[in-house]
Point group: C2
Chain length 643, copies 2
């Protein structure tokens, strides 16, 4: 499969024009199947995922009726549909997560369970390939009549993604055949005339079709993805809903302007990031300069003005999405788990396209913070909404009526190795530092890289590459954006001024067997400020260590969270704890604001704050112990407290 | 005059019922004419007032056309009126200021100038007593047709106040006769049926008529004041402007509800405070419990939720008045000089009514801060609007098209001694500590009190009372609300636990010649916080020393005002400077926020603030040197600075 994909990319790259100063590099991701993870951080989370989150998800899909919808559809029953319109997609994402897990942790019981669910899904597919239980059971005869709201193409996209994953993981075609049949049906309906104009109300199928095209080598799926991307913004939804275009605000669906004309991120966050992911796939292959320019503009707007420090997007519950630039409230942050996943997917695609470390920085920020927070430490409870501050009443739930997030986090954790490496011309790129081994073809040769590290708790990384045959190759090591003073040594010799390109150390040499590269990424606790335009964070500071954003939870404090502040000169120390796999805890010399009894007073003498130790834990850890208040952004100065 | 007034009060007090727990005490103010000021603080300001502000005001009244309006009216010319509808009132306030000044600083030239202006005014008075040049010159025949907007009764009130002051200062009746004739005319028009219902759009005449009643002993003027106060809120303005009452929002004029029913301060700030002053005069004399209860409610609402730390009121330029509770913005603070004066007048009346130190606290806060800021150090420029923060573009002006503020500050400075003392049954009350001497009758005897102090720069006050004949009397010394640890000694003997009543030290003894009372009011620099409900002051602190609120001006700083912060543990020292009459300057160890170059970054490492000395000067001093930024409320924590 990799070879087929490489062939497609190579052919396409010939036609690509340079965009701006960033010549697209078009790296290829090393698939998660080629990555073995042996660290204490991700491997334990993947194990929890396998033994808890994935089975729990499958159980919940049975309980919530997602699977029964397929049974009804298979029996041509036209009533009894349960749940929202996009119920099928949760099943597909769970299959995808389970498939990813199977690929690295063979599990006969899980594989059998998957096959049984896949039969169920396949049994509901119509002879013409159509498959969407909502329309089959609840609205028969109304297929493709409400693309804007009814998620048919979205569900199809998740089916395709899951089928590709299942095929990659197991080599079995039972699900891929369903996907191919469905994609063929979709392709028979939508496309240039005489087929229909149309595109998904909720993007997703675009990136899925690109995956299917790569796996099958069939360019028609890519062409269909390109069609969905490039026609978006032609006010199809206004037509579909019989609204005069001038009265129609399509921004929620990113259908307000032609796809090429977006200036900023907008609308529903997950829709936006999935669309941009698909558009990046398409632009990477076509080299369309207008699309590339749009992606660059929207990327910058997203990451420079609309990104939570925890790597998530979408501040508002109102539209599950964006409002105005720099609107990043903390207590009411929506930051849906799915949106963090979606942004990481987009960022990863941008990273492959340009090979600039800023993109993998966003991948890392999202994976280690916003995404991981989406699942409890025991893997059995989930966040849909991820605020950066809580008064103590926000907790993970066992499941949701709209259950998109749990399997989305599960599939991301299971496939995290897929975000770590990429290959370019004669070069192996390391984007995430995860202990383990990667083996991948490289320009017709083989490279094996062993990585030793306690990342993200420690920034020392030992890399032992074996090129077969040995020779002159490049190792490109991402220097994280959060890191000052990264140092490199080769075979014990410090490299005085390592070559740096687009944020990567470039180690180009005639490699010999036994070569050892050591990277040191210092991880002091950093006090981070937000751009002053972010009103919600004015006068506040966040603690970050390495890639991890920290928060304070009430259960670790000696004073009320609301009363704590962290002056600029606060001393800070770290402690390696025993819980949650050796979590590094931060202790800081904070202040506790005095509680003033204001009664009827308008002015009174300030009461100096008392000293109070503040204990901070990684954001993803929160809400795993006693319920209580939580804050990522801490006041630098004492906050007036009312008695 | 004092005896007449005392007689009126004594007769009235018999009928007064107790209000709440505060039995009205109904003290009598010791008139400014009985107070000699010999300190360095007020005496120099009174001298500047006499040689600069008052002549400058009179000159400007000539230039701006205020005086020519009188000349036109005297000649029955009906065109050529200059300026806004209330032009006459500025003349009257200037006469009042000049009269107060004459009383303590005889000045033949000024007295002659006044007489000439008074002749001009008198010459314009109509045979029936009517006098308002706007209607005489510009709208003849339309007298009393627009009480709401046209300030006729307001101007009449200022004429009366000025005439009373001129009579008190000079003993001459030339202006008082004009006032009596005008008051008689007003009284012939307004009152119970068959006279007309009506009251002023801009209150002022109520308190003026009470003064006139006291000076002349004629109770009709008091009755008319009572009529204006007690009928207010009967929607007269809706009738006058032919608006159905249900469609009429009279809150700007405090005409929305019957006067007895106000729950909070509202509308135009100067209107509100003058009305409350008049209502306090009336309630003090009638003992009307409903009116007293209203005054108590509105007072508490004003001082607990709507008072600037500098003693002013009225946050909004939109209505020159109030918005919602706790709305006290700094950069856009309106805080008109006249409103500070008006509130001090009301507070002084409440102080006399109840003898509780909280009221004189507000008098002091306003006089030493908001009011004094209204005039430049050279006495030649004036603030109308008094923000608590400036980017550097707000400066005193030579005069205004609406020139109410300059003469209002001038008359207040000239008569400041009148706020300092009061007498009650067998007791002399000291409200303000100003070096000098007061001589006043007390229960048919005489008391002379010599005061030595460098107040407000120093809190040590030596008081040498001489009662003639000696005997048992009370000296009541206000312990300022800002003061912790006030100490008292008598003839060198420290008083261990002085008796305190309603915020006053009560020194009751058989006084002997040569008795010396020493009061020590410690004046450390205080860090003051605002109630957390004041959004504008959250995270900010103000410096106060004694009664003076401090600010920082750019010209005293080594770093940009906007970059400075004052951490809770900042050390503070004071320095007695040589300028502005020995101003005490505060130096504090502040912080200078780093200027971060944000470019396109959304998050970046905090840069610790540098140390920076902050120099603060009294608020009233600001904008007398180099133009530049100013702030009263300083951030406790570093503020993000953009490069």
């Amino acid at each position: 499969m990799r070879l087929k994909l490489a062939a497609i990319l190579t052919a396409a790259s010939m036609a690509v024009a340079a965009f701006g100063s960033d010549q697209p590099l078009k790296l290829q991701a090393v698939p998660f199947t080629a990555v073995r993870i042996t660290d204490s951080f991700w491997s334990s989370r993947q194990e929890t995922n396998r033994i808890a989150s994935i089975p729990v998800s499958l159980d919940n899909l049975e309980k919530a009726g997602n699977l029964s919808n397929f049974r009804l559809a298979a029996r041509h029953v036209t009533n009894g549909f349960t749940g929202p319109v996009f119920m099928d997609s949760d099943v597909y994402k769970a299959i995808e997560a389970a498939s990813f897990s199977l690929a690295t942790h063979p599990d006969a019981q899980l594989e059998a369970r998957l096959d049984s669910i896949i039969s169920l899904v396949a049994g509901a597919q119509q002879p013409d390939g159509y498959l969407d239980t909502y329309f089959l059971v609840k609205e028969p005869g109304r297929r493709w009549t409400n693309l804007r709201d009814c998620h048919e193409l979205y569900c199809a996209g998740h089916l395709i993604e899951a089928a590709v994953a299942h095929f990659q993981a197991t080599g079995k075609r039972n699900f891929l055949d369903v996907a191919v049949k469905l994609a063929g049906h979709v392709n028979s309906v939508f496309g240039p005339e005489p087929k229909r104009l149309g595109y998904p109300g909720h993007p997703e199928i675009e990136l899925a079709l690109v995956k299917l095209s790569r796996v099958t080598g069939d360019p028609r799926y890519f062409e269909l993805a390109k069609f969905f991307v490039e026609n978006r913004g032609r006010h199809y939804f206004a037509t579909e809903h019989r609204t005069p275009p001038e009265k129609y605000d399509g921004s929620y669906w990113l259908d307000d302007v032609p796809i090429f004309d977006h200036e900023k991120i907008k609308g529903h966050a997950v829709r936006a990031a999935y669309l941009m992911s698909g558009a990046t796939d398409v632009a990477g292959q076509t080299g369309d300069e207008r699309l590339l320019a749009m992606l660059d503009r929207v990327w910058r707007n997203t990451t420079e003005k609309n990104l939570y420090i925890t790597g998530g997007i979408g501040p508002s519950a109102h539209n599950e999405g964006f409002t105005v630039d720099y609107d990043l409230p903390n207590l009411t942050a929506y930051q849906e788990t799915c949106a963090t996943v979606a942004l990481a997917q987009w960022a990863s695609r941008m990273s492959l396209l340009y090979g600039d470390a800023q993109y993998a920085d966003v991948v890392e920020r999202g994976l280690y913070n916003g995404m991981l927070a989406g699942v409890s430490h025991d893997g059995q409870k989930f966040f849909y909404v991820n605020p950066l501050e809580s008064a103590g009443h926000h907790h993970r739930q066992e499941w949701f009526g709209c259950a998109c997030c749990p399997p989305n986090a599960a599939r991301t954790i299971a496939a995290v190795g897929g975000y770590a490496y990429a290959v370019g011309p004669n070069s192996l790129w390391v984007n995430l530092y995860i202990q383990g081994r990667v083996k991948t073809p490289l320009d017709g040769q083989q490279v094996c890289l062993d990585v030793e590290s306690d990342y993200p708790w420690d920034g020392k990384v030992t890399l032992k590459p074996t090129f077969d045959p040995p020779g002159r190759h490049e190792l490109r090591l991402r220097v994280p954006g959060w890191c000052d003073g990264a140092a490199l040594s080769i075979n014990g010799q410090s490299v005085a001024a390592p070559r740096v390109e687009r944020g990567y150390f470039v180690v180009s040499r005639d490699w010999k067997k036994g070569d050892v590269v050591k990277l040191n990424l210092p991880m002091p606790v950093r006090r981070v400020s937000a751009n002053p335009n972010v009103v919600a964070d004015r006068g506040l500071v966040a603690l970050q260590r390495g890639p991890l954003v920290y928060c304070i939870e009430q259960c670790d404090q000696t004073a009320a969270v609301a009363s704590l502040s962290l002056p600029p000169d606060a001393s800070v120390k770290v402690e390696k704890s025993k819980w949650f796999g050796g979590t590094v805890v931060v202790h800081a010399s904070g202040r506790q604001s005095a509680q003033l009894d204001w009664k009827d007073a308008l002015y009174q003498s300030e009461t100096p704050p008392a000293r109070a130790e503040i204990t901070a834990v990684p954001y993803f850890v929160w809400d795993n112990r006693q319920a209580g208040a939580m804050k990522v952004w801490l006041p630098v100065a004492p906050v007036a407290q009312k008695k």
